[in-house]
């Protein structure tokens, strides 16, 4: 029971740590507004448990200069805040991609061999 709880906490931490790069990646080709980002993330099962936690993250990314925002009129309601990747955000994402694939390969190397 304790081990399972620890594992859950670890997975939650991994999710939390990688979420920001998923958000940055979603912004590579297009600007998106918050609700749209949440919808896109929710399509992948297990990435976001509480959708609301995206918003503190977006606020942080903006303050760190990794994204910038502009308000745009919406046809269906009040104006929306659109998020756009900055050069710094792009660089941060690229750096993570390299690290991530190395990390993933290393873990796979052991975990997959054990499983197979």
């Amino acid at each position: 029971m304790v081990a399972a709880g620890k594992q859950d906490a670890l997975l939650a931490q991994m999710r939390k740590g990688t979420l920001q790069y998923c958000v940055l990646a979603l912004l590579v080709n297009e600007e998106r507004y918050g609700f749209d980002l949440v919808r896109a993330l929710a399509e992948m099962d297990g990435m976001v448990t509480s959708e609301g936690t995206i918003y503190p993250l977006l606020s942080r990314l903006r303050r760190d200069g990794l994204v910038e925002t502009t308000w745009r009129e919406s046809t269906s309601g009040p104006p929306r805040r659109y998020y756009k990747l900055t050069t710094a955000g792009r660089a941060s994402l690229d750096a993570f991609k390299g690290e991530w694939s190395r990390f993933r390969d290393a873990v796979d190397h052991f975990v997959e061999r054990e499983a197979g």
Binding site: K16, Y33, G34, F35, V38, A42, T49, S50, E51, G52, T53, Y55, P56, L57, L58, S59, R60, R63, S76, G77, P78, R80, R81
Partner: protein, 224 residues
């Protein structure tokens, strides 16, 4: 009676605002505004909105407490200390004791040490510390000093008086008012002096009680 969707949303946002209390104001505003926008966006996409739909939207967003915890983590805000209740140590106890009676044990300096300990402790916020320092400088030491001063000066005919005076020749105590009535009556300054003395005794006791009460509350959360 069921709750209207608007009420549900309003309650959720209010709850969120409260949970985000220790997150810096501009960030709190931004997060609450964005989440309000998210809810409006999701509701606009519904064909026939029901209470259950709105409940699902709010549940998808998650517990305001979880969102607030995430925000604190993202912005390096110390979590509220309720989780680990502050345990007053010797320094806080010594500060309280010295503030109250330190000035009697070691005239004046005992109280000064109390003030130093008060400011060195992080159990109180600045407002508490200012109150502790200014109400009353010297603590009960000041009260004692004033009592002695009043007693000696009233014996010499002074007016900052106690209720009873001592006849300098016989050492016999007699009632001020009966004695005083033969000369000038109980003067306004006498009454004022007595009230002042009572205030000077009660104020440090109340201050100490207040600081003791504040000890049991959590220290203020700090932004790193």
């Amino acid at each position: 009676m069921s709750t209207t969707p608007d009420k549900l949303v309003e309650r959720y946002l209010k709850h969120l605002e409260v949970e985000l209390d220790d997150v810096p104001r501009d960030r709190r505003r931004e997060i609450v505004d964005e989440i309000a926008g998210h809810i409006a966006e999701a509701r606009a996409g519904l064909e026939h909105e029901s209470e259950a739909d709105v409940r699902n939207i709010l549940e998808g967003l998650g517990d305001p407490a979880d969102i607030a915890e995430d925000a604190r983590e993202r912005f390096d805000v110390q979590p509220p200390a309720q989780a680990q209740p502050f345990k007053p140590g010797w320094m806080e106890i010594a500060a309280l004791v010295l503030l109250l009676i330190g000035g009697i044990v070691i005239p004046f300096f005992g109280w000064v040490i109390g003030v130093v300990l008060l400011w060195a402790s992080n159990a109180w916020n600045v407002r508490d510390k200012i109150i502790g320092t200014l109400v009353v400088p010297g603590g009960l030491g000041l009260s004692l000093f004033l009592l002695l001063y009043a007693a000696s000066s009233s014996g010499g005919g002074g007016s900052l008086g106690t209720l009873c005076e001592v006849d300098p020749t016989s050492g016999r105590e007699f009632n001020c008012s009966s004695q005083a009535s033969s000369s000038t009556g109980v003067g306004f300054t006498d009454v004022l002096g007595i009230l002042l003395l009572i205030a000077v005794v009660i104020a440090p006791v109340l201050t100490t009680a207040y600081l003791g009460y504040r000890l049991r509350r959590r220290p203020v959360a700090a932004v790193a």
